[in-house]
């Protein structure tokens, strides 16, 4: 799945997806759960607390 497609599905910009991937932005719970939902995994699989 492309960054743009993921961004469109969640309702954020592609730059926000890039920032999340680079660890420069911590998304809200709503966005985190939407990402996990799209990939059919739990939130803990995608995000870890540091």
């Amino acid at each position: 799945m492309s960054q743009q497609k993921l961004a469109d599905e969640i309702g954020v910009t592609r730059q926000t997806i890039i920032a999340i991937e680079k660890g420069k932005y911590s998304p809200s719970l709503e966005v985190a759960f939407k990402i996990a939902d799209i990939f059919s995994v739990s939130v803990e699989t995608i995000f870890e607390y540091k």
Binding site: V12, T13, Q15, T16, I18, A19, Y25, S28
Partner: protein, 146 residues
């Protein structure tokens, strides 16, 4: 370099604001006075019109280039942080001016600043610094993260 629509718009606004107001202040303070003469009404209106025209043309160009104008939660968070920083600049400037008013009245300190000319230019400069801080804060957080 991956620039979003928001960053492009910010760079345009920053350049336009600094360009036009920088030109105005360069002309006003050319004589190295603390309180230059007040600009004419037409000059102020002309400056505002120029700012609106330049911003409109350049922002429209940015919109055509980038097409996507979605504003998401990250954009809103960065905007909130930048407006908070601008608020502090404007507050500091206003408080500084208020204190100078009292000091000039009591001790005749920096009395040139508290003339109508001085107050006008000081407040305009405070606004310019606040706007620049607003744009730079947003650009910083778009690049470095939040």
């Amino acid at each position: 370099m991956n620039i979003s629509y928001k960053e492009g718009g910010l760079l345009v606004s920053l350049a336009t604001t600094l360009g036009l107001f920088g030109w105005y202040f360069f002309e006003a303070f050319n004589g190295l006075q603390l309180a230059p003469d007040l600009p004419s009404f037409t000059k102020i209106i002309g400056l505002i019109v120029l700012l609106i025209v330049f911003e409109s043309i350049l922002q429209a160009s940015i919109a055509v280039i980038f097409r996507s104008k979605v504003e998401d939660e990250r954009d809103r968070l960065i905007t909130r942080i930048s407006y908070r920083n601008s608020y502090w600049i404007i507050s500091g400037g206003v408080w500084f001016l208020l204190i100078q008013l009292i000091l000039s009245e009591q001790f005749d300190y920096m009395s040139e600043l508290v003339t109508p000319n001085g107050i006008f230019h000081f407040l305009l400069l405070t606004f310019l610094i606040a706007e620049t801080t607003n744009f730079l804060t947003q650009l910083y957080h778009y690049r470095k993260g939040v």
